[in-house]
Amino acid sequence: MRIRGNPESFRGSPWFDSKQNKCEINKRSNLSQQALLKISNLAKSYGSVVALRDANFSVQPGEIHALLGANGAGKSTLVKILTGVIGGDLGLIELNGKQVAFSSPDNARKSGVAPVFQDPALIPDISIQRNLYLTGTDKDRFLSEISSMGLSVDLNQLASEIELPILRMIDLARALSHDPELLILDEITAALPIDMAEKVISIMGDHKARGKSVIFISHRLAEIEEICDRATVLRDGINVDTFDATHGSEERIVAAMLGDKNVVAAHNRNRANKTTTAEFMRVESLVGGKHLKDVSFTIKKGEVLGVAALEGQGQDLLFEILAGESQPSGGKLFVNGQEVTFHHPSDAIAAGISYVPGDRKTALMPQRSIRENLALTRYRGMRRWGKINFTEEAAKVDGAVESLEIDTRAKSQVKRLSGGNQQKVTIGRWVTTGFDLLLCFDPTRGIDVGTKAQIYDLIRKFSDEGKSVLLFTSELREIQLSCDRAIVLYEGKVQADLPFEKCDEASLLSAAHGIVG
């Protein structure tokens, strides 16, 4: 249908209820209009690596367009070209029918294209006020955007003093203050707590109601089905499919993303043979930081224990304590029935506990090769001045690369790998070393569906080998797919301890809000 007259008049009309996003009329895009953005034959390569081969798609005014693709499909490159971070090699970008080439992010912003990235583009060491000044953002408009999000921000605070989810919302509010024709949200909801992710969805609806457009990149297919009008799937730098996003398009999305590769079946795990009851680790009345008040739970051998919590419930500190990175202010830890104290991560590693942090960048040596990254943790047991046995190392590393299906095209420097492959390297290094308990903090953050499935397969495989895994994920739905049991943290305590049959999203969510016990 064609929107006539002032788009503003649609706000608040019953079939334009952006909060609910349930009305199907709302989802029809006005294809007959001239496209706001049209991309034709866009290509970009970095040296010999082709990132974008031939991308074509268009965004209509008042449309929310999802951009999808596996890691390394070329989404990031496309976004970088659209926002003026890099220039394309070939192809045409048209904005409102006029050919454009953005020379810088500033240039793109002034032309009405404003991006918000997963890593907020705020300068850490200067105040929010000065950050706003830097981008020429009107302070009052920013504050009204922030207050309409239900947040309040002290403009004198340094960006580095603010927690990441809030910072992302600030970045979004800053972009909205410029009232862009085209808002580009690049994985902004990844690892965002549920309430804020919902806020972002409703903001997108409001933006659309004003007749403006959004390009939305997310790996959460539910969000895409909920809010997006159309979706374009990229694979190997080419747009392979564009279709109306409706409920039930998940399979089509996954099929288009994976192409010829086998679609990984649902995680119908056989958990029946889990009869082991031997305890591996016990946590008693752990106290730490501002959030952890009294946390107790046990992890059995060969068990995958899920941890669910809203943002800021102390889950990150819990993982750091178990990994020996931070010290608790109270409580006890037992491994195999023996009380332990970890002063340093090496103590935890010696006790068989390995940590895969949520931020891949902290775990990897970005400039070094896959081999060196994978082999790093092996050097622990080595004599200080001993010779490295490269033959043995190569065999182990190759084994890990193969079992994890790491894409080794860019093996000389880990920083050139895509996010999903980097994550596999962080897990893979512990495969080469061996462990009894793997602490995985949000291992699938910003990772495509195919790689996600591989990582969960891997976690189940560890479990089958009798190894335990403690898994925190910000996507609640994944807990039931991969865990044997889950604990829910709320107000510094374990609010619920649920077997996997009961780990449906609704139960986890209500426990995470402290509703049931």
């Binding site: 500033d106 300068i123 060491d125 000044y133 830097l134 004198n156």
Partner: protein
């Protein structure tokens, strides 16, 4: 809100307390303390304070300039050579020309770093040799001079302690404060804090780096002019330049500028120069070997930076 502001100033407050403590100690040891002694102290810190401020700007912007001492020495030699025996008017004109020259030298350094993508530390190490070479060519041995009225305007005379005080504070007021409040100044903090975020926020990183080194060069030039006015001669010694460079880094760091970039201001480094001046002077008064005062200055720098770092880390959220 006020609490946040006070906390952010805690480094400067700490530096003021240390400087005041050392100052009182020193003044109490002096038989008399009047405007003459005040002027002596100001003259003692002026060149290094200006140099520390120049270095601080560059470090805030994520760089470091190992040639800042050489820039200052070169301007010192040029000033002493060409101003000797000239009138006040010509002296003023030459001062302006030399300040422009040092600004340009800084800008060229910034341009080389931006274009070549070679690390700041390597480019400026190389330019420091070049600049000292020029200084020695221009003024092969210590000598030269400056119009006395001009020298007195810059550094005062006898008991006139106001001129050097103005020379110290004026650059802060007319260069730094407007710069700090401008978009260009924020951009300098931005590229020092996080280059990628700065670029995404619309900052021209290369141009900002050139401006950064240009302002640093201007402060180095001021330091060179002041040095000429105080000593009424030019000294083309590499050792002077090297010591000055290292002191400028010490002053910047002691003054609360983080070597990682993006943090700090110019008031702290100006005050830190006072501390760097008082320690050796006090120790010398006690008849302690100058070598020990070096050790103590070094140890104090580490301690102050350590304490400051601890306070900062505690304030930061993960």
């Amino acid at each position: 809100m006020n609490l946040i502001k006070i906390k952010r100033q805690s480094w400067n407050i700490g530096i003021v307390i240390i400087a005041l403590g050392l100052g009182t100690w020193q003044i109490n040891r002096l038989p008399v303390f009047g405007s003459y002694e005040a002027r002596t102290i100001l003259l003692g810190i002026l060149p290094i304070a200006l140099l520390s401020m120049g270095q601080a700007i560059i470090i805030i912007g994520g760089g470091i300039n190992l040639a800042i001492g050489a820039e200052s020495v070169l301007i010192n030699c040029l000033a002493a050579r060409f101003m000797a025996g000239k009138s006040f008017g010509i002296g003023v004109a030459l001062t302006i020309a030399l300040l422009l020259l040092s600004t340009c030298l800084g800008a060229i350094t910034g341009l080389i770093i931006s274009r070549s993508k070679i690390a700041d530390i390597i480019v400026t190490l190389a330019t420091s040799f070049i600049l000292i070479g020029f200084a020695m060519y221009i003024q092969p041995s210590p000598g030269g001079g400056m119009n006395l009225s001009l020298a007195h305007l810059v550094s005062g005379k006898g008991t006139a302690f106001l001129p050097p005080l103005i020379t110290l504070i004026l650059p802060l007021l007319i260069i730094w404060i407007p710069l700090y409040r401008s978009r260009a100044g924020i951009a300098m903090y931005a590229i020092g804090s996080n280059k990628d975020s700065a670029f995404l926020s619309g900052v021209n990183v290369d141009l900002t780096r050139i401006k950064l080194y240009a302002v640093g060069g201007l402060f180095a030039g001021l330091s060179g002019i002041v040095l000429t006015a105080i000593t009424l001669s030019g000294s083309p010694f590499a050792s002077i330049s090297n010591t000055a460079t290292l002191n400028s880094v010490a002053g910047a760091v002691l003054g609360g500028v983080a070597l990682s970039g993006g943090v700090g201001g110019l008031t702290g480094p100006a005050l830190a120069a006072l501390i760097l001046y008082f320690i050796p002077t006090i120790l010398l008064n006690y008849g302690i070997d100058p070598a020990y005062s070096q050790i103590i200055t070094g140890a104090l720098t580490i301690i102050v930076v350590l304490i400051g770092g601890l306070i900062r880390n505690r304030g930061k959220k993960k």
